[in-house]
């Protein structure tokens, strides 16, 4: 198989009007560029400031997570899923647990479903909060916005630590439920954090949403059409910012999401500004879900008493389970051959698939806007490279 070579010497352009010779410039952004959120590289060809070609280069963080999980028992790779999208470990656990539950036909008790929704939506809050902080940091508002966002994220991480023992690598879900029940007073503390959260959102919106420089930098930049979004299977807030009404919490009605009243915010332009704003709106909807879930959570067991974790062998077959993670559609595809390890274990990474259209969004913009576009896609390299 021949490998398509990337052009090494950029072609010389036609002489400019004043007779000066110009040349395309090929630069490598990353893998150590601070705005790439990890080790991600883009080969960018520039005509002056304008991007004429952009090829992403993946794999700097590749450790073949799928192969490792195939050599591990079903439960054994649960802690490893934390390390995929290391900002939102709980939703990774949830997607994996959901796929295994589909594969083996396991029921989840009521209280565990509520705990899943509460922790999952808290994860969405802290992911979106840190994302908007990072995005503003990337665009040059050094310091304050990111620190404000991290201050709120810290409260939620404290809740995770009290519940699961770990701030980021939570390892919280089990097949058929959750690992531990809430400690005394946890729900009250969580309710306090959730009640105070809209105040942060108001403060943040007052701080920057109407900011002229922000609007100048983001409006009309990196426009993603809904047709291209559907064609490229763009999911999550990025698709909804383009007006694609597809939220897996509504479509699949997995877990108990049908019980909560929340709306799906949609953007109309699909530019960086819409992708930025949709995170605020989603956080407001998540606060609604959290308030209802914490009001209604029943007492009861947190794991299916019939579920036996030791020697867990699902019957042969396969299952694809997916959830609406903060980044988009996170899916797990499992094939069982009846043994203790999965025969095939596949992660459907929303971060990677949302990068399919990166070049389309970046063509023709200035090189400084590439940073804003990449930041608004919301990637985590642990999941892109697996």
């Amino acid at each position: 198989m021949s490998v398509t070579a990337y052009p090494t010497t950029p072609p010389i352009l036609e002489p400019a009007a004043d007779g000066s010779e110009t040349q395309l410039l090929e630069i490598s952004m990353g893998p150590q560029h601070p705005s790439t959120h990890g080790v991600f590289r883009m080969n960018v060809v520039l005509d002056g400031e304008r991007v004429v070609k952009l090829k992403p280069v993946f794999g700097y963080l590749h450790r073949n997570h799928e192969k490792i999980a195939e050599n591990e028992t079903y439960l054994g790779s649960m802690p490893y899923t934390d390390r995929l999208d290391y900002i939102c470990s709980i939703t990774n656990n949830w997607a994996y647990a959901l796929a295994v539950e589909k594969l083996a036909g396991i029921q989840v008790p009521e209280r565990a479903e509520y705990l899943r929704v509460i922790t999952g939506e808290l994860t969405r809050l802290q992911n979106h909060a840190s994302l908007i902080g990072f995005l503003l940091q990337d665009m040059g508002s050094s310091g304050t916005p990111l620190m404000y966002a991290f201050r709120e994220r810290e409260n939620i991480l404290d809740l995770f630590e009290a519940l699961t023992g770990s701030r980021m690598m939570c390892n919280y879900m089990r097949f058929g439920g959750c690992r531990v029940d809430t400690p005394a007073g946890w729900l009250e503390q969580a309710q306090k954090v959730v009640t105070e959260f809209p105040r942060f959102l108001d403060e943040y919106e007052n701080l920057l949403v109407g900011n002229e420089i922000l609007m100048e930098r983001t409006q009309g930049i990196g426009v993603l059409s809904p047709e291209l979004a559907i064609d490229s299977a763009i999911s999550g807030p990025m698709a909804r910012a383009s007006g694609v009404n597809y939220d897996i919490r509504k479509v699949d009605n997995y877990s108990i999401y049908s019980r909560f009243s929340f709306r799906v915010p949609l953007g109309s332009h699909g530019d960086v500004y819409d992708r930025y704003m949709i995170r605020f709106l989603e956080m407001r909807e998540s606060v609604k879900i959290l308030n209802e879930a914490m009001r209604d959570i029943p007492a009861g067991p947190i794991v299916d008493p019939k579920m036996r974790i030791r020697g867990f062998r699902p019957k042969p077959g396969e299952a694809y389970g997916r959830i609406e993670s903060p980044k988009g559609e996170l899916g797990f595809y499992l094939i069982s051959d009846g043994s203790t390890n999965p025969y095939r274990y596949r992660v459907r990474p929303p971060s990677l698939i949302n990068l399919t259209v990166l070049e389309d969004l970046c063509l023709g913009v200035n090189v400084a806007d590439v940073v804003a576009i990449l930041g608004s896609i919301d990637i985590v390299l642990g999941e892109v490279d697996r």
């Binding site: 198989m1 490998v3 398509t4 993946f58 794999g59 590749h62 073949n64 799928e66 192969k67 589909k102 594969l103 083996a104 036909g105 291209l228 559907i230 064609d231 490229s232 299977a233 763009i234 999911s235 694609v244 597809y246 479509v251 699902p314 019957k315 042969p316 077959g317 396969e318 299952a319 694809y320 389970g321 997916r322 559609e329 899916g331 595809y333 094939i335 069982s336 095939r344 596949r346 459907r348 990677l352 698939i353 990068l355 399919t356 259209v357 490279d385 697996r386």
Partner: protein
């Protein structure tokens, strides 16, 4: 729309296509559709344009190495002039293949997943399959990943390069029979048998 309806619609609209429903015995009940490589592109285009499956979420490969099925069969044989029944083990080889699965969803009908499968002829030479990237753009990076990790060559892919491994890498790590190369650096300071194996690959040319 259930799978049998989709199958009969496809058979009516894509002439000569060979479809097979693969039954999934697990409680998930996600049965899949196996399509032959020659008609896969036409079938995919029809699913996209006329059956509403506009959202191709997940593309992945599966490696099925050749395996030997041994069955005990009772055979009547004449031993020393007396007819007796003896157990004989009959062995059949099931040839291996690489399989590619596309998980399709319909956004408007809100149905899915429909797993669409294709199989290669074998695992060595006949690893060519048609690329479905022209039908669903979302397959672009994922087919590159399958090419990289499984070694399926997608004909018609616009930019088929390795995705996660580096371009000079030769093997396909997600295959079941993949072994780490023995000069693989397990640790920065190799010692004992790892050092010995690594030394076998070390060039003596130009050594000072």
């Amino acid at each position: 729309m259930d799978l049998e309806t989709i199958k009969s619609t496809l058979e009516a609209n894509v002439p000569d296509c060979r479809l097979e429903v693969i039954v999934n015995p697990s409680p998930s009940g996600q049965h899949s559709l196996l399509v032959d490589a020659e008609h896969a592109f036409a079938v995919a285009s029809f699913l996209r344009s006329s059956a509403g499956f506009n959202y191709c979420s997940n593309v992945t490969g599966i490696d099925w190495p050749a395996k030997e099925l041994s069955e005990k069969v009772k055979v009547k044989k004449i031993v020393d002039g007396v007819e007796t029944e003896i157990d004989e083990v009959s062995k059949t080889m099931i040839p291996g293949c690489l399989e590619v699965v596309y998980h399709l969803f319909s956004m408007s009908e809100k149905i899915g997943p429909l797993p669409l499968r294709m199989r290669t002829q074998d695992r060595a030479e006949g690893v060519h399959l048609p690329s479905l990237t022209p039908v669903w753009r979302s397959a672009e990076l994922q087919e590159r990943e399958v090419f990289d990790l499984f070694g399926v060559v997608f004909d018609g892919h616009p930019d088929l390069r390795r995705l996660l491994m580096w371009d000079e890498f030769e093997d396909h790590p997600m295959r079941r029979d993949y072994v780490n190369p023995d000069d693989y650096e397990y640790e920065p300071t190799a010692h004992d048998d790892v050092l010995q194996r690594a030394n076998q690959h070390r060039s003596t040319v130009g050594e000072r």
